[in-house]
Symmetry: C2
DNA sequence: CCGACTCATGGTATCGATACCATTCTTGCG
DNA sequence: CGCAAGAATGGTATCGATACCATGAGTCGG
């Protein structure tokens, strides 16, 4: 193989010093005299040298890489979490290695395995349901693992999120208190979307004594959030014609439901209240006047990054379950 | 340092073979007899072994990592591009290392340098404006570099995108042909957002002989897309009261403008047409009836992944500038 | 003036894998 | 039966950095 990259040895020769001195000049400049520091800097600039951090990771046993596994990119809220993570980790000199599971535990298991192959210093998971073999792999490695967007009772290592159950419950309570009598819940039906399941439970808890009206639509490859919302509302009004409120599991579904209500000339909020979940500014929830649960995805990402940096630098963590809360934003749709 | 990870040597000992045989059993199973293959598999399972791919990268000089640098996560369309990339690369056994520049060339330069430190097999950039030192670093390394979302005349290596200029021009033409006389253009004012600049140029080209009405709002830390849209429309109607159409540089701005129009009781599309750019289903442009330019961000990501896989496996590329096109979706707002 | 100490620097082993070459053992064919 | 070809396996050097220990020069206090 022909020589492709400039190495530390090349720089050392050009600067007339030992390569270990080059290493120090780059990592811990304080330990090197000003004169050599400058010689090294000149050689680096002249040769266009970029240190090979993977080799450094091998010998120092610290990769400065964090693996992140998210369920999906389709919910735009996750994008802001990734952004927060990426920003926060960059400040600590760490990089983000990314993968998506599409809510498949099998995919998650494979991704965890391939990401571990890169020897990350920590892992971030947006899910708290894991296969036994995944858990085994994670605990065996002894890595800091931060679970996001949920608050499991016993996190593997730490968790940053909020109670999906409490949030859905709060939303349903709000509808009950504003006089709604026949409240339905609309969701996509992914077996391993625990966040959606917790929200459905929160909804049901707020309606003791009532028969819950839960519609779960099977996922289709060609459908996007709003498609499920439209189709779902149609199906709900057919099954339970007296429904006067629909709690949607996400803003995307609520947006679709909103459109369908328009097509059916159902007055919102007069005849029907519609609520969402997420509230990312860029997504038109506010423009449409959608009542929704606001989650600060960016803050979750930043907090997770801070936790990760603390854990990898050996600091003790004050807390393992960090509740970032949620807030109910009431707008015109309820 | 205490021993943390199981190594290939441990597996070899447990299986009673040489470690090179373990390597072959995992990478090229065909070169190993069925009996040893099973012994190795058993040892791997028993010890919970995960191969260290960074060490492998060091000796094979192929990291199977692709670095991606995006301008921002705030435009949800980028999220779908990242999704396409991540999916496509995963199929080729490659991983995605991510960073964001926030439209700062300085940040881009730093990110390119730190990402190169991880010795990626390729780089993906969502921008085609680069600092001279960044270009030098990139060409010196001889890496495949794929630029996304634009179509520069001379890509560093390859580009997958569409003509922002042609798209904005098509939108403006549409407005002219539907009888609009006083068309304004609304954008945020980021010096290095070349996509926005190209769109402004396309807009101006479609109005020969007219004085273009371009409003650029300075970016603020606390503002999101819709905020600029609202504020921008207010300012436009004040500066040019007879404006009867606004071409917004993104859907997020259009959504904000839409709200502001409602607050001012400006009839859309009667008195004022509003158009956007992007059209991600989850964002609700369709629900609001927004006329917009549809870009298939996911397809751009997939295509870029395919190109990257081809380039890293040494295949010749049939094309270096791939135009993924755009389509104008007319809805109620124009 | 000398021992103890700090500061700057270098040498060598090591991290965990793969590349390359060598070796052994089969197998087929003249 | 003998030899060449090929399959399976192993040994050793190597990738490019850092860790650890050693060394030599200069400084300070007794």
């Amino acid at each position: 193989m022909q020589k492709k990259w400039v190495t530390m040895g090349d720089v050392a020769r050009a600067a007339g010093v030992g390569k270990i001195t080059v290493s120090r000049a780059l990592s811990t400049p304080a330990k090197v005299s000003a004169a050599t520091r400058e010689k090294v800097a000149a050689a680096v600039a002249e040769l266009g040298y970029v240190r090979d951090d993977t080799a450094g990771a091998l010998s120092s046993q610290r990769s400065r890489v964090v693996g992140a596994i998210v369920s999906t990119f389709d919910q735009p809220t996750f994008a802001s979490t990734i952004r927060g993570l990426s920003e926060g980790l960059a400040q600590g000199g760490m990089h983000l290695l990314l993968g998506t599971t599409q809510y498949e535990p099998q995919t998650e298991a494979e991704l965890v395995a391939t990401l571990m192959g890169r020897r990350p210093d920590a892992l971030i998971l947006t899910s708290s349901e894991h296969r036994p073999e995944t858990r085994a792999l994670l605990t065996r490695a002894g890595l800091p693992v931060v679970e996001l967007w949920e608050l499991p009772d016993a996190p593997i290592f730490a968790a940053v999120g909020f109670s999906n159950r409490a949030a859905a419950r709060a939303m349903t309570d709000h509808l009950v208190h504003t006089g709604r009598r026949a409240i339905a819940f609309l969701s996509t039906d992914r077996a391993h979307d625990t966040r959606a399941h917790m929200r459905a439970e929160g909804y049901a808890e707020a309606l003791p004594g009532h028969a819950p009206r839960i519609l779960r639509l099977p996922p289709r490859a060609d459908a996007t959030g709003p498609d499920y919302g439209s189709q779902g509302l149609a199906q709900i009004m057919e099954t339970w014609p007296d429904t006067d409120a629909v709690v949607c599991v996400s803003d995307a579904l609520a947006i679709g439901a909103f459109c369908e209500a328009g097509r059916r000339s159902l007055d919102v909020p007069g005849k029907l209240a519609i609520t969402g979940f997420g509230d990312v500014p860029e997504v038109g929830a506010s423009a449409l006047g959608l009542t929704t649960i606001r989650i600060d995805g960016h803050a979750i990402g930043r907090k997770a990054a801070a936790l990760t940096l603390a854990a990898t630098s050996g600091q003790p963590l004050p807390e393992r379950r960090i509740d970032m809360g949620f807030s109910l934003t009431r707008r015109a749709s309820s």
